[in-house]
Symmetry: C2
Subunit: 129 residues, 2 copies
């Protein structure tokens, strides 16, 4: 199958979106989950820089455009139902807008919600507050 | 914050669902993405065995109930927006209904869609065909 045929077989939800998991290609760290539409997928594959769809801003979201924390695409994978993407990426700096390396920094441990990762970059520096 | 307060702050979509990424706790392999409602979350946390919501069957989906390929919960994590879950699990056997270890076995390489993982368990054996 060609890549184009695979992309044409993707299953988007009623908003035209598909969830995309970003995973650091070498460490295996799960960085974030975001959403893509077909235009975001096409741009990501053609540029090699990950572009999502921002559901809040309702526009293409070129990850790192403001913060500099870009994701270079290493490999684009599709799941068995064609309704979820796994992006192996090389994350520059931090993936999370809180300045943490990844977005999954709250864990349930012993009945409590614990913060398990430190802020490594001041968000004010990322977004020029 | 208590675990209960964290769970009450989760953001579900208009169908009452939240996406959940399952990751093998020790290897870091991303196994699958599925969906949970509040009942599936509560059952997963109380039993330590992962239970999703099946969107196709519209019922609780106790992963491995038919196939035996259960997921034991190792840690339950929530992302910065409270709208995605990361489940660290210990996957018995294979996660994918195709008999592959994980669901993300199709990759775009050199303009082609390539199958990059082998079937390790015959699906007929998993589902008693």
């Amino acid at each position: 199958m060609t890549a184009a045929e695979l992309l044409d077989s993707l299953v988007f939800d009623r908003d035209g979106l598909i969830p995309a998991i970003a995973q650091q290609h070498d460490s295996g760290e799960v960085l974030m989950l975001a959403w893509m539409n077909r235009a975001a997928i096409d741009e990501t594959l053609s540029t090699g820089r990950v572009c999502y769809w921002s559901r809040s801003r309702k526009s293409l979201w070129r990850k790192g455009e403001t913060s500099g924390q870009v994701q270079r695409l290493v490999e684009f994978r599709v799941d068995c139902d064609n309704d979820c993407l796994l992006l192996l990426v090389d994350q520059k700096g931090v993936a999370c807008h809180t300045g943490r390396r990844n977005c999954f920094f709250t864990a349930i441990r012993d009945g409590k919600a614990e913060t398990i990762a430190e802020v490594v970059v001041d968000p004010a520096k990322l977004y020029g507050a």
